[in-house]
């Protein structure tokens, strides 16, 4: 897949742990881990919006397109 998830980088920048973010946005740690590793078929706007709000960033800071 050409979409790279940069969530781990954003978490490191904000010095926030996955567990804390998962609790704040109301999804399981397991799902957040899948999202971080890019092993999901899609991200709901609702989840993306909650992550952006908590990390004070834009969707573009979390997702990057890399051509194959």
């Amino acid at each position: 897949m050409g979409i790279i998830v940069r969530l781990d980088v954003m978490l490191a920048t904000r010095k926030m742990k996955s567990k804390e973010l998962a609790a704040r946005i109301g999804i399981s740690e397991q799902n957040l881990s899948l999202l971080k590793s890019g092993k999901v078929r899609g991200v709901r706007f609702e989840t993306l919006s909650a992550i952006c709000e908590e990390l004070e960033c834009q969707p573009g800071d979390l997702l990057e397109f890399q051509p194959d």
């Binding site: 999804i27 799902n31 957040l32 899948l34 999202l35 999901v40 078929r41 899609g42 991200v43 709901r44 989840t47």
Partner: protein, 184 residues
């Protein structure tokens, strides 16, 4: 629907499925017993013999290979339905284990629908074969080829088709559920 209501509904689905799992087991046993009961306890099944293509007298007059072959032929629709009920039982077993929107139990439902239709289509053929076998010992001119068809067959075919279509729709629902679960 709130999560409490969803949990209660799933709890009810599991409870009813457990009951139906055992009802299917009884129905399977009955399918294996129905032909021997027609044979050996005719009074008990008198009400159910109206659709038989041969008289009980003819059946009881049979002996030797004819008796066993006729009995086997008569049992074919019951065995097909027993297989369908076995698959239905597996479906309820999966529901009882909370495996609801999954492809496996839906495949079982589809197999039940197919078995129901197959049993309905086979029944007139085995009925005709039974009439030939049961009157085989009679002199020429008195042998009978009888085919029995009724509204019940049409209704069962409709029901079988309906179950197959429902299984198809549920298969799509399972696919969508799987897709939704892979979204975070």
């Amino acid at each position: 629907m709130s999560s409490v209501e969803t949990t209660d509904t799933l709890k009810n689905v599991r409870a009813i499925s457990t009951v139906l799992y055992w009802v299917c087991a009884i129905a399977i046993i009955f399918q294996f017993l129905v032909v021997p009961l027609v044979w050996y306890a005719p009074g008990w099944v008198e009400a159910s013999t109206s659709q038989m293509t041969v008289s009980l007298g003819d059946l009881h007059a049979l002996s030797g290979w004819q008796k066993y072959v006729t009995m086997t032929v008569m049992m074919i629709p019951s065995l097909v339905l027993a297989y369908g009920l076995y698959r239905l039982r597996k479906m309820f077993g999966a529901f009882a284990q909370n495996a609801i929107f999954q492809t496996e139990p839906i495949r079982h439902l589809k197999a039940f629908g197919i078995a129901l239709m197959a049993q309905t289509l086979i029944k007139p053929l085995t009925g005709a074969a039974t009439s030939v076998l049961a009157t085989f010992h009679r002199p020429a001119g008195e042998r009978v080829l009888s085919i029995g068809l009724s509204n019940a067959e049409a209704s069962t075919l409709f029901l079988g088709g309906l179950i197959i279509v429902i299984a198809w729709v549920l298969g799509e629902a399972a696919r969508i559920d799987d897709e939704n679960r892979s979204f975070v």
